[in-house]
């Protein structure tokens, strides 16, 4: 085991090896399955590992290659899928007891695209129940730990997908991002995650949390691998009326473009939001690096984003309260036996976890007679104001920069008793969802925090920090281009730490 282990390689490198015939898809998939067996007890990223299906698909890909056929853009690459995305024939739990045994009878559009492009789906990853949370602690079905520090959360809600990529259990993963659920865990685990523009990627087959905010997004070790997934999952889908029918560029190709001359704005409001010292220092260093790359950086202001979190915590629960009404025990999922219909509803819906119940209550209230105007409608209007702010900023700037999260990964249990403190983890990521904008989190450094062992010698833990790059609607290209340029500058340092962490994870004890 070492730096050259297959599981420590990025998707792009694995693809080259497979294309060159130096390694088979079966070997690649086996390497990751072995890695999963090895580290999963410490990470807990997966709710289900699809060993047999994965190996069968890998063998199919190998056969295609042997017979000289093109196995697709992702031919043979293992991909993990967040457990709120339907894979036909596999359980799709959304991290909930409500769907603990529900087998999806159809493929999500993104899953179909993955399969068509030769991806090997090797598992479903853990998540906060119905994607409601920022730590994956709201999963009813398992605990996921941050590979960088097992006492800490991996972030959420796509914590399983991010942790799996960080731990070297899979090179590529899909998450979903409603208020930061791809970017925040990517930042907490030192990997790269993109929330695409609303409408860029089909939501068909994604268990809905808040329909006007949800987007599926890729998580991978670097920007190049994120592009690889984006090339496969982007584009119009006739099954999703909110997906946009407009040309999709080849994202992998835009990486050769120069980022020099781009204009970047730094909203001053983003640094006053309880941002920790370590995060701020990393962010400031990142700005220096970007300037060295020839990106012009200027402070700007988005005055309305101070209202973004409030706005989000009205709109998202309101939509969720309606989206989660279908979990009534009638047609699928869990049903509690009862003598009357009403009793069956109530007893079935008691299986929602506390955070889900809280948000259903909040959202139901915000839509209820007498409060709709004051809460839901007002929030929808504030959303307009927030979007106007971004629109104005993008008249001047090509991209906007901020830390992805105010802090690095917090401790397990640290925020579970105080919903508001948990909500704060999303403070820098929700604006992009409200405005429907593409936003990337890319590793930009580390914050050293005391490890705080029980009576043991005090050492420092390195926890990753994410840089968030937000772009204009449907301009993922510029965001990815800037992110790639930036990451090239820090890759050596970041990846050295990553490899070191991964090795440590594999060691017994």
């Amino acid at each position: 085991m070492g730096d050259n282990a297959l599981w420590n390689m990025k998707a792009s490198a694995l693809l080259e090896l497979m294309t060159a015939g130096e390694v088979s898809a079966t070997e690649v998939v086996e390497a990751f399955l072995d890695r999963i067996s090895e580290v999963e007890p410490k990470v807990g990223a997966f709710l289900e590992v699809m060993r047999e299906e994965g190996l069968a698909q890998a063998r199919r890909i190998d056969k295609l290659r042997q017979s000289g056929e093109y196995p697709g853009l992702l031919g043979g690459l293992p991909v993990a899928v967040k457990d709120n995305i339907c894979v036909a024939g596999a359980r799709c739990t959304s991290g909930s007891r409500m769907l603990a045994n529900w087998i999806a009878p159809y493929d999500a559009t993104v899953v179909r695209a993955l399969k068509e492009q030769g991806a090997v789906i090797i598992g479903k990853t853990n998540m906060d129940e119905f994607a409601m949370g920022s730590s994956t602690e709201n999963s009813a079905l398992g605990l996921t730990r941050n590979p960088w520090d097992p006492r800490r959360v991996p972030g959420g809600s796509s914590g399983g997908s991010a942790a799996a990529v960080a731990a070297g259990e899979v090179p590529l993963a899909l998450g979903s991002d409603t208020g930061g659920s791809v970017r925040q865990p990517a930042a907490f685990t030192g990997v790269t995650g993109l929330k695409p523009t609303y409408g860029r990627v089909s939501r068909y087959g994604l268990v809905a949390f808040a329909s006007s905010l949800d987007q599926i997004g890729p998580i991978a070790a670097d920007v190049k691998d994120v592009c690889l997934l984006m090339d496969v999952i982007s584009g119009f889908d006739e099954r999703d009326s909110t997906s946009e029918d407009r040309p999709v560029p080849s994202y992998s190709r835009v990486l050769s473009k120069s980022a020099r001359g781009l204009k970047a704005g730094v909203p001053k409001e983003c640094l006053t939001q309880g941002v920790s010292r370590g995060v701020r220092e990393c962010f400031e260093r990142a700005l220096e690096i970007l300037e060295d790359l020839g990106i012009g950086i200027k402070e700007t202001s988005l005055p309305m984003i101070r209202y973004a979190l409030d706005c989000y915590y009205i709109i998202a629960p309101a939509e969720a309260s309606s989206n989660l009404s279908r979990f009534d025990g009638v047609r699928y999922g869990l049903r509690a036996e009862a003598k009357s219909l009403e009793e069956m509803y109530m007893r079935t819906r008691r299986n929602f976890g506390p955070e889900v119940r809280r948000r259903i209550m909040l959202g139901t209230f915000a839509l209820s007679a007498g409060y709709y105007d004051a809460y839901y409608l007002r929030a929808a209007k504030v959303r307009t104001l927030i979007r106007r702010d971004f629109k104005r900023a993008f008249e001047e700037f090509d991209i906007l920069l901020s830390p992805t999260t105010p802090t690095t990964a917090f401790l397990l249990g640290e925020r579970t008793q105080d919903p508001l403190s948990m909500y704060m983890a999303d403070v820098l990521t929700v604006p992009a969802n409200l405005a429907g904008l593409p936003a990337l989190s890319v590793p930009c450094g580390f914050e050293d925090v005391p490890s705080g062992g029980n009576g043991e010698k005090e050492t420092l833990r390195r926890l990753p920090v994410g840089l968030q790059i937000t772009g204009r609607p449907f301009d993922e290209e510029t965001v990815l281009c800037a992110g790639y340029a930036f990451y090239q500058a820090v890759a050596a340092a970041v990846e050295a730490e990553l490899t070191c962490m991964r090795k440590g994870l594999g060691q017994v004890g």
């Binding site: 009878p105 006739e238 508001l420």
Partner: protein
């Protein structure tokens, strides 16, 4: 950002939530004690949103989606195969003769659309 973790300030805009009523609407059952806790939590979340009310939103168009000027796309009226019946019924908690079975409502005439229902005796087909 107006939200700060901690106790609410008891703002003037925040109404007292009738959690029992809201729970009924949401078809959630709150056990004793749970209602008070829920009340406290929701109240504190709403109180932290007070600052929203200081914004003047008069004349502002609401955004219900994520971008401006989006228009609905319409699709041709062509029948396509859906789920086969077995595929669907396999996942249903209780099935009888290809129907989905649920306990009858305790408030029998409570349907807002009762005229869409077939009233009448249903007899199980005798399999023997």
């Amino acid at each position: 950002m107006p939200l700060k973790a901690g106790a609410g300030s008891g703002g003037k805009h925040t109404p007292k939530i009738d959690v029992k009523h809201v729970a009924r609407l949401a078809m959630l059952k709150l056990e004793d004690g749970e209602a008070e806790k829920m009340q406290r939590e929701l109240q504190s979340i709403l109180e932290h949103m007070e600052e929203l009310f200081s914004l003047d939103v008069k004349g502002v168009e609401p955004s219900f989606g994520s971008f401006d000027g989006a228009e609905l796309r319409l699709f041709p009226d062509e029948v396509r195969a859906g789920l086969c019946r077995n595929e669907f019924l396999r996942g249903v908690p209780a099935v009888r003769d290809s129907y989905v079975m649920v306990p009858r409502t305790g408030q029998e005439q409570g349907s807002p659309r009762k005229n869409n229902e077939i009233e009448g005796e249903w007899r199980a087909r005798d399999g023997r």
